[in-house]
């Protein structure tokens, strides 16, 4: 994009954001209502969430549960999915069970998790992992199954062992599909993180938002939501940059074949 067009875009984007903020502030001042706090307390509450003490009580518990649950889901989904996709003969055996489990609305499992694990971190990590494992698993199965059969012939000629075939041929070939699954999994993981804290927790961002809503500390509620948006944005961008690095070969490959066709 040429520079002046980019500058003009930036101008309009800033203008829109400022206009909406001004509109918010104007209505908060002229029509005061409990659910419409002015901008200043919201900003202050947001900044205070970043103070070390508050951060450790509120943001950190959420993040660590998400990291463990989502991490488990990614590792488990990738490993299992790659193996299952490679062993095509297993597919008819597991397909109906998988097709059922993937469409269970993940929140429905929450009461069961509460029953089995109580209101513990294990329960929260479990629901985060359960919710985000299916997109990764199914994407990995799909990617591994649609892999390039000729490369497996090459691997046989080059005397690859089974593990080498899985990790050096099938897995790299399935990675583009797996990353697409991981992106979906991340947004589901975030949702499950919040829900598990809304329904039963004594720390974390979901708990913070719910408690402040009950205490009518509206500015804090909005600050908590903003913090969740920030976390979602940062994690999405981080994931995209990892993907860009890991899949550089894939984008080049596709770009070239697009240009040819």
């Amino acid at each position: 994009m040429p520079r002046d067009i980019r500058l003009r875009a930036l101008f309009w984007q800033t203008a829109t954001v400022l206009f909406l903020l001004a509109l918010w502030q104007w209505s908060a001042v002229t029509h005061p209502a409990p659910y419409l706090p002015p901008l200043k307390p919201v900003a202050l509450a947001y900044l205070s969430l970043l103070k070390p003490g508050n951060f450790m009580d509120t943001v950190f518990p959420s993040l660590s549960r998400l990291a463990i649950g989502f991490g488990l889901a990614v590792v488990l989904g990738t490993v299992l999915g790659t193996a299952l996709g490679y062993l095509r003969r297993l597919d008819p055996w597991i397909r109906p069970v998988l097709e059922y489990l993937r469409f269970v609305p993940t929140v429905a499992i929450l009461p069961a998790a509460l029953l089995l694990f109580g209101a513990t971190d294990t329960m929260r990590i479990f629901v985060i992992a359960f919710g985000s494992v299916f997109p990764v698993l199914l994407a990995a199965i799909d990617g591994a199954r649609r892999g390039n059969a000729l490369l497996l012939d090459v691997a046989r000629i080059l005397k690859f062992s089974l593990a080498e075939k899985l990790f050096r041929v099938v897995l790299p070939g399935a990675l583009p599909s797996i990353f697409a699954g991981v992106r979906i999994a991340l947004s589901i993981g975030l949702v499950m993180m919040v829900i598990s804290e809304l329904i039963a927790a004594n720390d974390g961002l979901g708990f913070y938002i719910l408690r402040n809503q009950r205490l009518f500390q509206t500015a804090n509620v909005y600050a908590g939501v903003l913090m969740l948006g920030t976390i979602g944005l940062i994690l999405t961008l981080g994931l995209l940059s990892i993907e860009k690095r890991v899949l550089a070969w894939h984008r080049g490959w596709r770009g070239l074949s697009d240009a040819r066709s």
Partner: protein
Amino acid sequence: MSSTGKATIFASRATTALKGVMGVLAAFAAWEVVRQTGFIDKRDLPAVIEVMEAAYSGLVHGDISSALLETLQSWISGLALATVIGIAGGLALALLPGLELATRPILEFLRPIPSVALIPVALLVLGIGTSMQLFMISFAAVWPVLFSTKAGVESIDPRFLETGRVLGFNRAERVMRILLPASLPYIATGIRTAAAIALVLAITVEMLTGRPGIGFYIENVRLNGLTAEMWGGILVTGIFGYLVNALFVGIERFTLPWSPENRDA
């Protein structure tokens, strides 16, 4: 095709179905094994047959079925609202580049917010009630429709539009006769994704605010210690989720036989 060919296809389908049934039975067996190991209290993990009985009697005697109907109602209205707003918004963003540019930072920031986090906000503004439930479901479900509509319109081959111009279509005709039909496969996929999200939101709102529906049912029977009923409710919810997806795939196959997604199937 020769009759032996048909017989072979039938036999291979029968084997596939049999393997699938065996897989399901193996899952039931695994459930029973977990039960027997005693890691988890047996009262919390009833036998598969008890769960099925609870699900069946709930469906027949009306507890689960009436809860499902409630959920279905709010789900459909939320999804319908999200579809209308999403398509209109997606069209607007795709056709008005200035609008897209100006609102991009806001949309990019709103999108990754987990929609359930807004439930407390919605409670503050709208209180507990139908409008809050409707708002939450459609707010969460609008994004996939919006972005897939936009992607669909942007993916249209400009030659289609040139053809429309040659045929003398005006702007409105171009939208109705070319842009919308050509982006329907994208929109359909977006609506299918939105349907699943809307279902999750409907259930979540029911669980958190006690609105009648399957989510409230599951949470309520758990609080009353009726574990078989809880698992039965989850089982039925899963089947419902599966049917919702199957319904949308079926509609897409039927109404969009020319869509690239349906051609090879």
